[in-house]
């Protein structure tokens, strides 16, 4: 049964890939991308896209981690419920609305787009950092205290590694959302691969449209799997093993 399943699966995968190839050729995407001028232009848009994502993610990760760490310290712990609520509320706000509001406040261009992406991506990171650190079992922290660790070492060597799985899940969500939302940044004049997509829709040109949509999708998928690899690097071995056996 299982072997049959695997064979069907592989067969289906081959068919899908073949179909995708034919579709790409038929819509003229290959011809479009083989044009040296258009190819260079697409690469440039991709660079713009990546710059938007990288800058905003860097800022969002820093602030998100900081918020998560600060509001789990004893002095600020009582506010963590409120922060969690506000963050949860913020996450329900649609991405297009955030982009539009950023434009109406800050105008158009690279900076407002980065600001919108940053604001939108802080939320999942902060939320998961908060949730991850809160979920670290108290007896582990007690054990660390018993070993005479300072608060700082407890945070760095006990709490963060134990929460890493959850934090990374938040980071992953943030990256994927960020790449998708960065495509909307074109609307407020920040360029990126969204330029191909929106222009393609307006001109009803499938090749131009796909030249934006396919790379954006690939970027998101690659980032998603890179986050999986990052997990292998950042999550301590012992915790990973426990995760697998449970």
């Amino acid at each position: 049964m299982n072997r049959l399943l695997k064979k069907t699966y592989r067969f289906a995968l081959a068919i899908v890939l073949l179909g995708a190839g034919v579709a790409i050729e038929r819509t003229g995407l290959i011809a479009y991308l083989s044009d040296p001028y258009e190819a260079r232009y697409t690469v440039r848009l991709m660079e713009q896209h990546l710059r938007l994502v990288a800058v905003s993610m860097l800022m969002a990760t820093a602030l998100g981690l900081a918020v998560g760490v600060v509001f789990t310290r004893p002095a600020f712990k009582r506010y963590s419920g409120i922060v969690m609520y506000v963050v949860g509320l913020g996450q329900t706000i649609p991405s297009l609305a955030v982009i539009a509001l950023a434009m109406s406040v800050l105008g158009i261009g690279f900076k407002p787009a980065v600001f919108a992406l940053f604001v939108y991506c802080v939320l999942p990171i902060a939320r998961n950092t908060l949730a991850g650190i809160t979920a670290v079992p108290p007896w582990i922290i007690d054990a660390a205290k018993g070993m005479g660790m300072s608060d700082r070492r407890i945070l760095l060597e006990v709490e963060l590694p134990n929460a890493m799985q959850v934090i990374l899940a938040g980071f992953r969500i943030a990256v994927v959302i960020n790449i998708g939302t960065a495509a909307l940044a074109f609307l407020i004049g920040a360029g990126g691969l969204g330029e191909h997509i929106f222009t393609g829709i307006q001109l009803m040109r499938a090749d131009k449209l796909l030249a934006g949509a396919v790379p954006t999708t690939l970027l998101a998928l690659v980032a998603d799997s890179l986050c999986g690899l990052l997990g292998l690097l950042l999550i301590p071995k012992g915790l990973r093993l426990r995760e697998e056996t449970v």
């Binding site: 049964m1 299982n2 399943l5 699966y9 579709a23 819509t27 509320l89 996450q91 329900t92 706000i93 649609p94 991405s95 297009l96 609305a97 955030v98 539009a100 509001l101 434009m103 109406s104 949730a131 994927v176 790449i179 998708g180 939302t181 495509a183 909307l184 609307l187 407020i188 969204g194 997509i197 929106f198 393609g200 829709i201 009803m204 499938a206 449209l209 796909l210 934006g212 949509a213 396919v214 954006t216 999708t217 998101a220 998928l221 998603d224």
Partner: protein
Amino acid sequence: MGNVLDFLVANADRCWLLTWEHTWMVLVALVGAISLGVPVGIAITRHEQWAKAILRAANILMTIPSIALFGMLLPLLSLIGHGLGKVPAVIALVLYSQLPIIRNTYVAIKNVPPEIVDAGRGMGMSRWKRMIEIEIPLAIPVIVAGLRTAAVMNIGIAAISAYIGAGGLGVFIQQGIARVYEEMIVAGALLVSVLAVFVDGAMALLESLVTPKGIKIGRKLGS
């Protein structure tokens, strides 16, 4: 801010119309997503070997950026003459809802305590009856939590679908940006955010209503 209020008052009819259009799209998509996702979620608890592959496929679907998915559906659906408009929008919304709905259904049914199911078996219930009368009622709170995630997400994606001519509140944002008409942009963003927050609250209420009193299946799955 006052100007935005003026805009909302002056265009109250249009606001209601677009809000209704938006809600309607999300509603149709949710109904479609439930009738596709819940049976699939239940089916993969019975056929474990499919579970991983299905969940991974749903995860990949969710990873595709929404505007890119609209883009890829466009040439595909123009073959049947529906490249733009509500059809691709609703299809995309249904696809995006699959991960939260399938995953929550799967996890919820898996988490039904086996001793309760055994008790049902001991009472002579058939497999079908055990599912209808024990497993699904106990799983419903978690399934509704998945619906909540899907509904809120769909409201956001439906706003983007204004760019493929599907209508809804995104129209305010789209036209506002095109005309640099600030009041219109802010009104659109505000209305769609309020709609999302409102639906989130309403679904939370529904979630607590359908949770059987004696059983505390907490929200183990967040967004």
